[in-house]
């Protein structure tokens, strides 16, 4: 397999250096841009597999770069943000970013996000069966098994789990989940999400109090792992 190509758009030279070293030692090829304009140009000329985009750029805002990229660029974009500002993150995710990392981040976290972003690129047509540890989700048969045992899930529980599992490793925002599972008009009814996530955890997690599959991303949404 070819080395996956990553475009880094970040104005901080130290961060670019750090990313470049880590990515190249993990088998990625990198290109770097220090400004939004340069990033847009490089993306158009080389079409990378993943774009790492810093939201705080000197020339145009990262949100604007994201918007312009999403007009034509179909592959994964992982957003980097220096603050844990939830609004910024939610805005980026709702505008087409696949995932985010807040600085400072751990290298392990970075690599996990990149791996899942690339996996999402490849799985254009959904995998029929998703496995995560003891958990097995058969999307074709709409059957969920835990340690080989079939779980009884309600329709809503299944829809929620399947949606998260199909986007394994990726944060889905509250709004997005509510719209997709419950429908338009339910986007603010986060209480439904809380209830159903709690119910699902009781069924699919070994220990619902220390979830390993349905991960809460505080103030933003949920991630399936």
């Amino acid at each position: 397999m070819n080395k996956p190509n990553v475009l880094i758009i970040d104005d901080e030279p130290q961060i670019r250096k750090l990313l470049e070293i880590n990515l190249s030692t993990h088998g990625y090829q990198t290109r770097q841009a220090a400004t939004g304009k340069e990033g847009l140009m490089l993306a158009a000329n080389h079409i990378p597999d993943v774009i790492l985009l810093d939201l705080g750029l000197p020339d145009i805002s990262g949100h604007e770069v994201l918007r312009q990229l999403r007009e034509w660029y179909p592959k994964a974009i992982v957003v980097l943000s220096v603050e844990k500002g939830e609004e910024d993150i939610i805005r980026a995710l709702d505008n087409g970013a696949n995932d985010y990392l807040s600085k400072p981040f751990r290298v392990g976290e970075l690599m996990a996000r990149l791996r899942s972003a690339i996996r999402n690129n490849d799985s254009g047509e959904a995998q029929p069966v998703i496995t995560a540890g003891e958990l097995e989700i058969d999307l074709a048969g709409r059957v969920v098994k835990n340690q080989g045992e079939v779980l009884k899930l309600t329709t809503t529980e299944y829809n929620l789990l399947a949606l998260l599992a199909r986007n394994e490793g990726r944060v889905l925002t509250h709004q997005f989940l509510l719209k997709e599972v419950w429908g338009v008009g339910y986007q603010t009814e986060t209480q439904y999400l809380r209830v159903f996530v709690a119910q699902l955890r009781k069924k699919i997690e070994q220990d619902a109090n220390h979830p390993r599959h349905l991960i809460t991303v505080s103030g933003v949404g949920y991630r399936f792992e």
Binding site: T156, R194, V197, A198
Partner: protein
Amino acid sequence: MMRRIPVLQQMFIGAGCVVLLSVICYLFRPYMDYRVVALILLLVVSLLAVLFDILPVLVSAVLSALILNVFFIEPVLHYKINSAESALLFFIYMLVALVNAVLTNRLRKQEARVRDKEEKEKTIQLYNTLLSSLSHELKTPIATIIGAVDTLQEAGDRITAEQKSELFTAIDIAGSRLNKQVENLLNMSRLETGTLALKKDWCDVNELIFRVMGSVPDCDDHRVLFDPDEKVPLFKIDEGLMEIVLYGIVANAIRYTPPGSEVRIQVGFDDDQLHITISDNGKGIPEEEKQKVFDKFYRMPDSGTGGTGLGLSIARGIVEAHGGQIGLSDSAAGGAEFSLTLPAEVSYLKNLKNE
């Protein structure tokens, strides 16, 4: 406090008081000499002078003088004054009322100046505490990082692999500590400037507490205990901020109790209030320190290094921003017990089994 009433409103209140008192005096006119009325009105104007701005007081003073003249000094219901004595009284009344208003106002301005000065001094003192606390708390990890990197670059093969790994760990810890300090400072300044907007949303409190427990560092030699109550409804609070509050209190409890201590978290609720208590079995906090621990930059006398003295004051700020309260008392085990009460919207949807 009184300063917050707009001047126009002060004007009406002042005039209202004068008119009301005048009406009462007018009813008792057969039993009262106009000189007594003059003294009563003077008293009212003096009281107003203590509470209100100069302009409304002057207006009240003039109004009361006119009322005195027209309604109480013979001939009643006419602005003319018959006797020289009454005229003298009227002018003296006018003069005393005005002088009273001006003097009181000047006195209050002076007081305000003194208060301002004291406040400024307090701010400067706070800044100094901040600077000394900051320079220490930020420079220590920076020194660690620079020193460790230097050593790793210079020493080459003269240090063992084990020593190298120790240095890397030191850099790692220092970096995390810097990150935490900066986060604390940002939160503090957001609380201070009022730019910290609450983003309330439905929160599964049990889940929140388990998440906090999972993120608290070096739990190894401490035990953090929590027995979730399945019946706790969803509460509408700012989950991210409450995570900071609980993290701060639990991390504090772990830091300031000896290894092997227990930290116990309990959740309770009534109609529209969420109660969380965090208690430990450490040596407790002396009575005279209990109020101070929530103050900005306050550190317990024997608290050693690390920590900016911001954690608990941030916790209090966030709880109060929710309209709640945070208190500190002794736990049953003799340690410290922090109790939070948050008024919040409640949803019992959690207990419905549907769909």
